[in-house]
């Protein structure tokens, strides 16, 4: 079997493009996730810009309905699957091993495979643009609009198959992080000593593991309807389009908590650090997260109040949806409790965390308002829903993610962000976000339907829509400021040192950027806010400031070696899916490539040292 691994000699070295392609280092994979997802954020953001230009004036014919449909579909799909999820995955990769005191994740090569599947799945999803056949049935792609007779071109196939590949990536990553968190904590880190971000990562991973198979089956059935003559969602053959909605939302509602729980975890790390006090009500934060995770399975039909499920189902899902607001409220009060009486420092990261709380409350309240079935039947498919989702996902998730970027960024670049530009970025984003999305509450309540490419001048929607489009311009500049700040500070920023915020987490006890092996010596965890305890003990003992752990020779620490196989398997798997779109022979070749990859992977020891 040495021949197989011998064909592709074991990659080595830590520089150059190949070192990135073959890397299994969680920090590098995290950086790859981060940059790819940020590039997708810009693309999906520009798609939003196209929509806002179309909607800026009444009766506009700037892009027309066809392109508009593609824009809202790809904007939403990309923002959910290619931006917020992978940005969270980026944090999982960068932070989890550091914060639990591990040298890497449990399965470094599986981790690399997750990234490459994510990249190729993203490309497959967007490949429809090359043929002007981008998916155009909305991000939840309701049947039977998505069936062949109503969406004849290949757009929906790109959508379904792209999401299947992305789903494989997400599940692989989630399995990896579940095992890592359960099994790789440093000695002394009991479950109730884990940082809250790690808890939220664990809950999110479990949700992913259980929710993605449901949408996988839905996507397979949709693909079979479109390509193999079945009638799962087609009434002509007895199928029920509502089954698609059930499958989609049984996945889709846990999915929205998959999008929000990691940023909630980030905020729960940032607030204590800048309030100079431990997280308020830690056990309540943990258990409210678990309760949210469990209850997220019992609320899906609130997306379907207008489909005629009957009064019993509507009442039950109204009640469960209102109940899930309780653990969410617990979290918000605990965040406020954390800040209460603290010595608050309003660094950029803290501003984003506080902005998160404010905007998420607004989004949460509008969410409770459509928990009420009768009210929801008025709000369904209006801009009121668009306002809600952007307050929770932009004002919530994305603000939380930016809080994390400003908080943990210096750990990985080794340089401080410019605070002036950072604050400018925050205020532009905060104002722009509200100018864009707050008016949507009103146009929505006045009856403007979402997903319609234009509106008439008599409707009276013109003024508020122009305001939303103006807000988009502000947001555009907010991102320009962020990019300038990032480029400038990663080149000329002040040295960060290992612990710029005097923070409590384990990750701050090692140098910035961390060495490849993270911890020369696996730490013994002393308590919930480990590094604060260490620093306090040093102060009491009259020692000087605690220094970062000294670097040691990398060769003395046994680390997993780079590997070619993850990218090869990911390439093969993507062609299995791509072949269904083009020619089945390509699926077969893709399967062969993946099989060779799996055999090669299986025969390759996890680290090169034990090879010879």
């Amino acid at each position: 079997m040495a021949t197989l691994t011998g064909v592709l000699a074991r990659p080595s070295g830590y520089t150059g493009v190949w070192s990135w392609i073959t890397t299994v280092d969680h920090k590098r994979i995290g950086i790859l996730y981060g940059f790819t997802a940020f590039a997708m954020l810009l693309i999906a953001g520009l798609e939003a810009g196209v929509m806002r230009s179309q909607l800026a004036t009444a009766d506009s014919e700037l892009i027309g309905p066809g392109v508009f449909n593609q824009m809202f579909t790809m904007h939403a799909t990309a923002m959910v699957f290619n931006v917020i999820m992978p940005l969270s995955a980026s944090f999982f990769n960068l932070i989890v091993p550091l914060a639990i005191g591990a040298r890497d994740v449990a399965f470094p090569r599986l981790n690399a495979l997750s990234y490459w599947l994510f990249l190729f799945g993203t490309l497959l999803l967007h490949a429809g643009f090359l043929q002007n056949q981008a998916p155009d049935a909305g991000w939840f792609s309701y049947a039977s609009l998505t069936e062949k007779p109503y969406s004849a071109n290949a757009g929906l196939d790109f959508w379904a198959l792209g999401l299947l590949v992305l789903g494989t990536s997400s599940v692989a990553a989630a399995l990896n992080f579940t095992v890592t968190i359960i099994n790789m904590r440093a000695p002394g880190m009991g479950l109730m000593r884990m940082p809250l971000f790690i808890w939220m990562t664990l809950i999110t991973s479990i949700l992913l593991i259980l929710a993605f198979p449901v949408i996988t089956v839905g996507l397979i059935e949709l693909t079979m309807d479109r390509n193999f003559g079945t009638h799962f969602f087609m009434p002509q053959g007895g199928g029920d389009p509502l089954l698609w909605q059930h499958l989609f939302w049984v996945f889709g509602h846990p999915e929205v908590y998959i999008l929000i729980l990691p940023p909630m975890g980030v905020v729960s790390e940032v607030l204590p650090a800048f309030s100079r006090k431990p997280l308020f009500g830690y056990p309540f934060m943990v258990f409210s997260g678990i309760v949210i995770g469990i209850m997220s399975w019992a609320v899906w039909s609130h997306h379907m109040f207008t489909t005629g499920l009957g009064p019993v189902a509507n009442s039950v899902f109204t009640i469960t949806t209102m109940l899930i607001a309780v653990p969410t409220g617990v979290k918000i009060f605990n965040w406020i409790g954390t800040m209460w009486g603290g010595a608050i420092e309003f660094k950029t990261s803290m501003l984003f965390a506080v902005g998160f709380i404010a905007l998420f409350i607004i989004g949460g309240l509008s969410g409770v308002s459509h928990a009420v079935a009768p009210a929801d039947s008025q709000q369904q498919d209006t801009y009121y829903i668009v306002a809600h989702i952007h307050y929770v996902l932009f004002g919530g998730s994305l603000f939380g993610i930016f809080a994390g970027i400003y908080y943990w960024g210096p750990k990985f670049t080794g340089k401080m962000f410019g605070e002036g530009l950072g604050k400018l970025h925050f205020w532009l984003m905060f104002i722009g976000m509200n100018v864009t999305f707050f008016p949507m509450h009103f146009v929505g309540m006045n009856g403007m339907p979402r997903r319609v490419y234009t509106y008439s001048a008599e409707s009276g929607f013109q003024l508020l829509n122009s305001l939303s489009s103006l807000g988009y311009i502000i947001l555009f500049f907010a991102f320009v400021v962020f990019i300038i700040n990032f480029l400038r500070s990663s080149k000329n920023g002040a040295e960060a040192g290992n612990d710029p915020w005097d923070a409590p987490g384990l990750e701050w006890s090692i140098s910035s950027p961390p060495p490849a092996y993270n911890f020369a010596k696996i730490p013994q965890v002393l308590g919930r806010d480990h590094f604060w305890i260490v620093k306090e003990l040093a102060r009491e003992a009259g020692q000087g400031p605690v220094q970062a752990e000294a670097h040691v020779d990398e060769r003395t620490i046994h680390m997993p070696s780079p590997s070619y196989w993850p990218i090869i398997i990911a390439f093969g798997v993507t062609w299995i899916a791509g072949g269904i779109l083009t020619h089945y022979a390509l699926s077969f070749i893709g399967g062969l490539i993946a099989f060779v990859g799996v055999v090669g992977w299986g025969n390759e020891p996890a680290s090169a040292q034990s090879d010879h």
Partner: protein, 212 residues
């Protein structure tokens, strides 16, 4: 290719918080995920039970005695798998090879039955597109068959290693993880057999709408 010969150093010396091996934990968590996968496929079948607009209906198609035989074969393969693991633990090289091959062989017989069955159904007019019964039946049992096929390939790969003398107490964990997967696939078939054959196999025409 040292890792299968001697106790894999990265696996054996590794500190884990729970004391459970990473790969074993990974398999358990993955099986949780696979439960949801089959659960959704089974749910699709049950939702569409009796909803087909036209025949052939299960009563016209399903042959319970034949599938009972293949079910028995698959359950026997689980017994062989248990024996393979036991042989691995006591380092009985001959028994390891026999029981691994026996497991793969029984799995392959099950697949053979399924191929024959699918062909017979097709000849009787049951296709993916003909009605909801065909669509949900073939999708569910097809994905189960794919799982069994994957298991057979894995078993054969393990058998190749066994013939090279690379399977023994030091690599018992590899066999155990394979066994977890194999038993899971068997258990799923017990549920499928019960629902699709023993209960649903006698469905005639469209069922009247239920009271709920």
């Amino acid at each position: 290719m040292a890792h299968a010969v001697e106790p894999a150093p990265h696996a054996e010396e590794e500190y884990t918080t729970t004391g459970l091996n990473h790969r074993k934990l990974l398999m358990w968590v993955f099986l949780g995920s696979d439960c949801m996968f089959f659960g959704t496929l089974i749910a699709t079948y049950m939702v569409y039970r009796g909803q087909s607009l036209n025949g052939p209906y299960p009563i016209d198609i399903i042959n319970v005695p034949v599938t009972t035989i293949s079910t028995f074969v698959l359950l026997c393969s689980s017994f062989a798998m248990v024996q393979a693991l036991a042989a691995t633990n006591r380092d009985d090289q001959k028994a390891i090879r026999i029981w691994l091959l026996a497991t793969a062989f029984l799995g392959a017989i099950f697949i053979g039955f399924q191929i024959v069955e699918f062909n017979a159904f097709k000849n009787e007019g049951l296709t993916l597109g003909v009605n909801l019964f065909g669509a949900s039946f073939f999708t569910l049992t097809g994905f189960h068959g794919a799982h069994v096929t994957l298991g057979v390939i894995w078993l054969l790969g393990m058998a190749v290693l066994a013939f090279k003398g690379r399977v023994g107490p030091a690599t018992a964990l590899d066999v155990e993880i394979l066994g977890l997967y194999w038993h899971f696939v068997d258990i799923v078939w017990i549920i499928i057999f019960t629902l699709l054959y023993l209960i649903g196999g006698f469905d005639t025409g469209p069922l009247p709408p239920s009271g709920g």
